[in-house]
Amino acid sequence: MATDKLEEIKTAVESRFGDSILSFDTKDGRIVLKVSAQASHEVLSLLKDLGFEHLSDVTGTDYIKDGEFEIAYHLWSHAKKIRAIQKIRISRESPVVKSIVDLWPGAQIHEREDHELFGIDFVGNPDLSPLFLEDWKEIPPFRKDFDTREYVKRRYYGD
């Protein structure tokens, strides 16, 4: 029963965006699809029309060896009871991506957090001011090249 819902979504997505869908697998009832960064916004709006109306999370991951950030959009469909994760890769030097605030207003703070902790620039997000850290002068702390233990030794245990 569940598998045909997955196949239905797979055909719908791949028919519209054939080439820009890098991979689409449905292991144990969960959709994980990798998309090229340019088509990410359109694929997300298609997924939203297909019933994935709950945006659970916008996760940033720093793959420093590949020189890329990976952004994972976690979606959930209340009607179909399926979870979908859409992943895109953007370059680490100029991490710019189009904001999805127009699709989900709730995404504004998730993107603001990722901006502060990773340094990813979300074009179109109304407010990207610092969220957690006050007058933070170092590089964004969740990047792999920021070593918290070395920073702590210098900042707190230096005396």
Partner: protein
């Protein structure tokens, strides 16, 4: 029967010890162990301890757990606004040495570099009996003439 008779107030410290007012600013996880004290588990009002809203009326500041970089400036400002004699009680291991978050980039490792701390209660977070042990110890010290800061 003798417990019901009012005890004579012998010294200035005696009055201060029986009316320690705590600032209603519970920073972190120690607040969970202060719930029985605020509520009816251990009921701190039996000792004359009251949670007041403004630092002007407060005698005791409880640093109840880890202190982040953002929170330490607020704690310092509240501490400065309190009238002396004032006392600081730190709960748990995080204010003393950074504890669980010793390598976190946003928590302060030693609170006594920012405000003088009079009493450390160990535990992560300390049990209500530990905090009671600390309160009784503080009251006896104040009765004995400990002036605080």
């Amino acid at each position: 029967m003798s417990k019901l008779l009012p005890r004579p107030i012998r010294s200035k410290g005696d009055a201060a010890a029986n009316s320690l007012w705590v600032i209603n600013y519970f920073t972190a996880c120690g607040f969970m162990e202060l719930l029985p004290w605020v509520g009816s588990g251990y009921d701190m009002e039996r000792f004359g301890i009251l949670a007041v809203a403004t630092p002007r009326h407060a005698d005791v500041l409880i640093v109840a757990g880890y202190v982040t970089e953002k929170a330490v400036s607020r704690i310092k400002r509240i501490y400065d606004q309190m009238a002396s004699p004032k006392y600081v009680m730190a709960l748990g291991s995080c204010p003393m040495t950074g504890g669980m978050y010793w390598d976190s980039y946003s928590t302060v490792k030693r609170i006594d570099k920012y405000i003088p701390v009079d009493l450390w209660v160990l535990g992560c977070p300390p049990k209500p009996e530990n905090i009671g042990h600390g309160i009784v110890m503080a009251m006896n010290a104040i009765k004995g003439g400990f002036g605080g800061h």
